[in-house]
């Protein structure tokens, strides 16, 4: 598998150097991406992070109206506690810090340890667990955090920017997670630079249903079908778990290796499905936002909006990967 890298070992570092060179609004130190201007007095700091390979998540969401810092781990491997502690101390403006953590065992353990070890900063945490492909039960590690992470970071970031206290920022982050559901479908596996070959084999004629964002296989494998049918499978899973109603924020997210044109093909089917259920797409996002390296496929994420959440979604944001209104 051909890759545009120098070496597999240096790929995370090299990519972060590129981000620093491209975006003067960022300051990057020890695998943590900060806003260049530093913390603002009295504003709650937002820290997220996780394994690399999901770009632009999380590092591309650092900036006004969204994250204050993002910790980049090795590819698909959560960061260790030290940089999370550094990030937490580095963004504190005296109002406390919210950790936004995707629900994976490694991320949860490392962020928990960091929160325990950090001194002199009030820390709250929210776990994002929106993936309906995983049964939430005693028999699993719980649902994975996927596309809704972007919703949580954007909306909580907007509220923090307005100067809301930590408890309210944490509460809105939790609320967005509870109102959001996602489901992903892969046409191919992904290839990590260190392995150099696809994580799993998927025949030309089959797709993987209910995939995560680390190249882990999904729940089932079925024959490839037209986009309409695949979109329906994803939306049925979302709808079954949380019936679609009212105003919706809908993201059709590419896994990294799917052309935007195909994502729009999927979005048309998703929108038709939603209309059929009597709900409305009032805010939308189509593109590669929460990726899995070069995997082909899509995930769809839906959040039930109300006026307050819509207003926070519309609030100005200025990050490398998401920017409007400013």
């Amino acid at each position: 598998m051909k890759k545009l890298i120098n070496t597999a070992e240096s790929v995370v570092e090299d990519a972060l150097n590129g981000m620093a060179a491209a975006h003067p609004s960022l300051r990057i130190r020890d695998h943590v991406v900060y806003r260049a201007q530093g913390p603002r007095r009295g504003k709650v700091g937002l820290v997220s992070g996780g394994g690399s390979g999901h770009e632009p998540l999380h590092v591309g969401f650092v900036g006004h109206g969204m994250l204050d810092a993002a910790c980049a781990g090795e590819i698909f491997t959560s960061p260790v506690p030290d940089p999370i502690i550094e990030a937490t101390l580095g963004v504190d403006g005296g109002a406390g810090v919210l950790h936004i953590v995707k629900n994976y065992t490694g991320d949860v353990l490392n962020f928990e340890m960091a929160a325990e070890l950090v001194e002199g900063v009030e820390v709250a945490s929210v776990l994002v667990d929106d993936d309906v492909a995983v049964q939430d039960s005693l028999y699993t590690a719980g649902r994975r955090g996927t596309g809704a992470t972007l919703f949580v970071e954007k909306i909580a970031g907007a509220l923090a920017e307005e100067g809301a206290p930590l408890a309210r920022v944490a509460a809105v982050a939790q609320e967005v997670d509870e109102r959001s559901r996602s489901f992903g479908i892969a046409l191919t596996s992904c290839t990590t630079p260190s392995a150099g070959k696809p994580t799993f084999d998927l025949p030309e004629t089959e797709v993987e249903l209910g995939i995560g964002i680390h190249g882990e296989p999904g729940r089932a494998r079925v024959p490839l079908a037209p986009a309409r049918e695949l979109a329906e499978v994803a939306m049925e899973a979302v709808h079954r778990d949380q019936p679609l109603r009212g105003d919706l924020l809908v993201m059709v997210n590419g896994m990294g290796g799917t052309p935007l044109m195909e994502l729009y093909v999927v979005f048309a089917e998703v929108a038709a499905f939603i209309k059929g259920k009597g709900a409305r797409v009032t805010r939308s996002l189509v593109g590669n936002y929460v990726t899995s390296l070069d995997m082909q496929g899509f995930s769809v994420s839906v959040c039930l909006l109300d006026d307050a959440l819509t207003r926070l979604w519309d609030a100005p944001v200025e990050t490398p990967a998401l920017r409007w209104g400013r």
Binding site: G51, G73, E74, I75, F76, T77, S78, P79, V80, P81, D82, Y104, T105, G106, L109, N110, M113, A133, V134, Q135, L138, Y139, T140, A141, R144, T192, S194, A195, T199, F200, G212, H214, G215, E216, P217, G218, R219, A220
Partner: protein
């Protein structure tokens, strides 16, 4: 069981993990995210470096240094999980180190990882290799066998425990996302736990 033995334990584990790196990663690719071999290889290289730099004076110090290094350097789930095993083991280990003392400290390490990972025997995790190894050590102490015999028995128990994960359905970690599709694969965490136990038996000989 002296300090050098414990340093040698991690050096031998690092060597074994390097040798078996691709197999661990293959196991992880089947039911996880294909990074277990790479991460553990990186972590143990760091552990050996830390042990060489810090020249620990006791077995307990070797274990806590190794544990802290794994927590601070590996990332993912395996870093904090293995790190906690060795940190807790180091905290519980009394000097001079006897087989009975090591067995008790090992048990404390296993309890720590069960608590942190909220995993129990049968969940298809590293606990399925570590807990039987711990039980084998305790039985060996009861039976009064030699250190070498005890460590051999622990390594065998770990290997059997890892093999027993093959028909299990995972209930913890990323493999649990696969539901029934996790059946039929050896758990990579249990497989790497076997390498730790095999290395210990090897360097004791």
């Amino acid at each position: 069981m002296d300090t050098d033995l414990f340093v040698a334990w991690f050096e031998e584990t690092a060597r074994l993990v390097r040798e078996e790196r691709d197999r661990l990663t293959r196991l992880d690719a089947a039911i996880g995210d294909a990074d277990h071999g790479t991460n553990l290889d990186r972590g143990l290289t760091e552990v050996c470096k830390a042990l060489a730099d810090s020249a620990p004076e006791s077995a307990a110090e070797v274990l806590t240094t190794a544990g802290t290094t794994l927590i601070r350097r590996v990332g993912g789930a395996s870093g904090p999980l293995y790190g906690s095993v060795f940190r807790q083991m180091g905290k519980a280990l009394l000097t001079p180190v006897t087989l009975a003392g090591f067995s008790a400290a090992f048990e404390a390490g296993v309890v720590a990882v069960e608590r942190l990972g909220k995993a129990a025997l049968g969940d298809k995790t590293m606990v399925d290799a570590l807990a039987p190894a711990s039980r084998a050590l305790a039985l060996a102490v009861r039976d009064g066998v030699s250190v070498q015999e005890a460590l051999d028995q622990a390594a065998r128990a770990a290997a059997e425990g890892a093999k027993a994960t093959i028909p299990m359905q995972a209930r913890k970690g990323r493999a649990s996302y696969l539901g029934e599709r996790s059946i039929g694969h050896e758990d990579p965490g249990a497989a790497s736990a076997v390498l730790f136990m095999t290395a210990l038996a090897t360097v004791a000989g």
